[in-house]
Symmetry: D2
Subunit: 344 residues, 4 copies
Amino acid sequence: MKVGIIGASGYGGLELIRLLHNHSEVERIDLFTSSEEGIIFSHKYAHLLNIHDQPLLKIENDKLAEFDVLFASTPAGVTSELLPPLIGKRTRLIDLSGDFRLKDPAQYKQWYKKEPAPKSALEKSVYGLTEWNEKAIQQAQLIANPGCYPTAVLLSLLPLLKENLIDATQIVIDAKSGVSGAGNKPSQMTHFSETNENTAIYKIHQHQHIPEMEQTISQFTGHASPITFTTHLVPMTRGILATSYAPANEGVTEKQLVNALEETYAHHPFVRIIKETNKFGTNQVYGSNYCDIHVRVDPRTNRATIVSVIDNLVKGAAGQGIQNMNVQFGLDQTTGLQQVPLFI
Amino acid sequence: MKVGIIGASGYGGLELIRLLHNHSEVERIDLFTSSEEGIIFSHKYAHLLNIHDQPLLKIENDKLAEFDVLFASTPAGVTSELLPPLIGKRTRLIDLSGDFRLKDPAQYKQWYKKEPAPKSALEKSVYGLTEWNEKAIQQAQLIANPGCYPTAVLLSLLPLLKENLIDATQIVIDAKSGVSGAGNKPSQMTHFSETNENTAIYKIHQHQHIPEMEQTISQFTGHASPITFTTHLVPMTRGILATSYAPANEGVTEKQLVNALEETYAHHPFVRIIKETNKFGTNQVYGSNYCDIHVRVDPRTNRATIVSVIDNLVKGAAGQGIQNMNVQFGLDQTTGLQQVPLFI
Amino acid sequence: MKVGIIGASGYGGLELIRLLHNHSEVERIDLFTSSEEGIIFSHKYAHLLNIHDQPLLKIENDKLAEFDVLFASTPAGVTSELLPPLIGKRTRLIDLSGDFRLKDPAQYKQWYKKEPAPKSALEKSVYGLTEWNEKAIQQAQLIANPGCYPTAVLLSLLPLLKENLIDATQIVIDAKSGVSGAGNKPSQMTHFSETNENTAIYKIHQHQHIPEMEQTISQFTGHASPITFTTHLVPMTRGILATSYAPANEGVTEKQLVNALEETYAHHPFVRIIKETNKFGTNQVYGSNYCDIHVRVDPRTNRATIVSVIDNLVKGAAGQGIQNMNVQFGLDQTTGLQQVPLFI
Amino acid sequence: MKVGIIGASGYGGLELIRLLHNHSEVERIDLFTSSEEGIIFSHKYAHLLNIHDQPLLKIENDKLAEFDVLFASTPAGVTSELLPPLIGKRTRLIDLSGDFRLKDPAQYKQWYKKEPAPKSALEKSVYGLTEWNEKAIQQAQLIANPGCYPTAVLLSLLPLLKENLIDATQIVIDAKSGVSGAGNKPSQMTHFSETNENTAIYKIHQHQHIPEMEQTISQFTGHASPITFTTHLVPMTRGILATSYAPANEGVTEKQLVNALEETYAHHPFVRIIKETNKFGTNQVYGSNYCDIHVRVDPRTNRATIVSVIDNLVKGAAGQGIQNMNVQFGLDQTTGLQQVPLFI
């Protein structure tokens, strides 16, 4: 397979390179850029010396159409223009940005403050939450790869909502993320001296991943209540831990919640249900494509606490993108994705 | 004033020394130990060279009674035995541990898994949440200094609950803490390589600060519903950020919540209400006695998100202890506590 | 005293505010800006709410001359133009930038790649390494406050060089710094995701503090050999640890080195000589104006390893600036600078 | 191949599991323990769920001899007793501890403060610095895998010393390490709150890796001068950066040093020579088996600064161990070791 990556300099792009480099079915990786044409990539990123020493290529539609699969890892507002001309060609398109996730262009405009992709293109995109949408992904040409937060949250909540085990009208989600989720562009928000030794809440009630989660909950479980969702920045590079709260429905036990999760993911290699732990953290999935989930019901309040962890750059971006590519091409889902978590 | 500190080697003790060293009314600080008698303190802690070069003293009841004020910063289960003999003497006692916080000995036993202090002693202790209990603190000999999490949570929730602005039956609190809250004793939980680059949830639904918060909410607002409370460890040394969620009551606006907070704390120097921010983090109180609070109502769900930050070692422990000492001795509350946050 | 600060938004400026706020002789602090006139400072920096809520002022020479003392904490190339008009007026000037440190304009141009201050102004500036230049500082109107690295290095090396105890021709200095030394302007170098979990060497042999150290060694000890100096960025916010290596001169013992340090600093409150330790780190001076020094001679090679630690923002910048102000105004050197190190 | 690991719970052991799990020639991995027999490994380490769910096995000599290769990743003083009975059997032995590195038992005793292995066993061990000892490693049954610091230092210095390009009598090495090098056992030294925001020097002139480096320099280059070596702990988990200093010999240019390094490692896939960089850090090898080297000559002092970085758990321990296993079994050196550095 020939793979092209648009936006290779971003962290999603770098992670695609890291993972695809050892993917047994990938024979060639080309990198595209809007502004750094000709630069030898390993001169910019020394960690890729001897790994990717080719120059960055200029984005040209003719060239792009030659690839078996194209990944885009660009800021919001880029692929909405870049990808539509490629729709209908043979190249599979996997978009790591948010441009094709929301089906309603008005919602995109409201939450992203940018012009949406054409409605016709949005209709053709398939949401790439692999464990829940495998059949559609197989057929799809254009994959809207899920956001990092939605991946962690949805994998943990969908089974419980689908089986009506928790109250869909009272969901509160408190998410914590490492700083790499903010990308490679320096800002005061990601400046070491102000991020280190600091845990901060940001974009309160206003994160653009909110409509993505609500749309997907509705799609797969039929529940349509708005959720409360907040995001926090913690002083680490990788990892998301999402803590979700909802009342267990009348008569529902902790065991039923665990069972629903275990049954849903029994044949899905990247979702692990963790039982009986008193320490559950992001480092248990560091550098890997796993999503680990842990659930407890508080007997005092009958409220369920559902916790999930992912590596935001792997299962929350590049890894899930490759998992979707594997599905599209009929490969085993785990091809190229069997990294063991680093833990330390 | 002559001040004694029991448990000086712990982080609460070290922080008391840091702050009391520059307290204008403190003329002498003596340190007591159960196991390291005679050790020159600055040989153990080089950062205190030229600041506290005296030897650690053996704990003896006669000696302890000579102090104007005694701070205890010891693990749970120590002061329940150590302090009762001093009750009724002239020495003011400020206990940073949890041993005198819960009025019900059975609750202490259940949550702390240790023997409680005698009921008669518990009855005499006064909960040291300064902003809410100032008059009782003035008179009290024995102060039960609040836990770090309860300080951050209660200061932000009490005004809203007291005025019935949020639904007391649906409170969810998601707290994040730096690692210093776990004290100075090494363990796997606080081992750098497993704590760094890791955000973890721990003690799910089982933290001993839960009954402390419920008791205090009941005491000051009359509401008696159980709360859902979870705690997370984030890779930083100092700081707590508590994110609390509750539906705003029928017809209540964000402005009313802000007003309630502002009015409650108008004359309290250490509580600051922050408005209109998109970045609210623990570093804005680092090293200081401030508690900063920010509140928002999500118009989509009518749920309030209430965020508060403290330095767990200052307002969450030693600083609030000194604030209480100031109240007991009729000093300005801010004496010795005017450190500006480090921020960076 | 009325104090003005130019460049208040930078980290040197913020640290001046933190320390001066509790300085007993300072009655007023005004902040000047080149580009943010009128902004309420605590709107920009929430940690200063209730501490500094005044607007930033426009820089105007007439206004500047009204202050008892003016601190400048600006990037290189600013004060070389800004301060000369104020020379000769009554306002004491303390420049935290490098613009007045090098006596030779050609050297400034070579190392800073900018236009130097006028030679006449350079001649009037006094190097503010307090412990070594106290008398000149008392008289000086214009203080060139030392760089952060030179402060840590010079305080540890000057006593040994002055007494000819180590070989001045073979000095190698390996310095490690926290990221705050790079200031508050975001860049790839200070971007959290690329700085965290990374120790890096930078500006090899090319750091602009090299000529400053050589000039000062020559001034105070007469030795004029070039030094080898490298700088490393470690993933923490505050702190410098400088490890210097030089052969002990013929027959010189470790004890003699320790004695030379102890005697030199016997009456200097901010320099502490640490003996017999197997752990010597930056956290023992965190947030304080101390410089701690530790020295060992390796019996196998007869080479001395001289280690010193400072908080780069305090003793390495704002703290030493205030120490110099105290000297200029005949105050006790420790006024406003008695913060105990945070350690944790 | 059947692989056994003794000391699997340690960080060296965990890293062996991480890397060997995806090694194409390894069909089975068994884990041995001295004290936790029967424990399911993924119950202890949740990150290994579905990856290694077998119980820990008791160490028994008969069982150990059945493996094709045995890795030992144990504290000093364990393998000196454990491995000698296996010498002469068919099982290849790769010892990640220091017990078989020093040929002179007296030196081991002096630096490790423990009883050395029998001299006969020491004589049979082969030092596993793969790039320098490949032929001996091919034949060896017992490999003494190099220490983490020596790996970083020796790979960068040996080529320059061998060709007499730098002065072997004046070598100063300043090494900085992440905390994982201290292993998984909690201590005050590795306690998060005292390690975070702290850079510290430790074991000054007394690190047990000193004789290992001197012995190897002597073995491969003939130079026998003692070196000055210091070690620093920086607040990160993985990575070593070693900065070495030595005068360039008369007439030697920077270009010659670069050439010597490039020529030496032209056919060695894991050593990369980095040219023309102004940022050289540990994150460029994070999680990989690379050793990156950068060298500069200071024209002002004619002193060379030689910098090298490794991931201490990979090239500094488990990775190099597997590289040696590959050599012993005639595999391509890179088998199972082609991980791309994580960088972020």
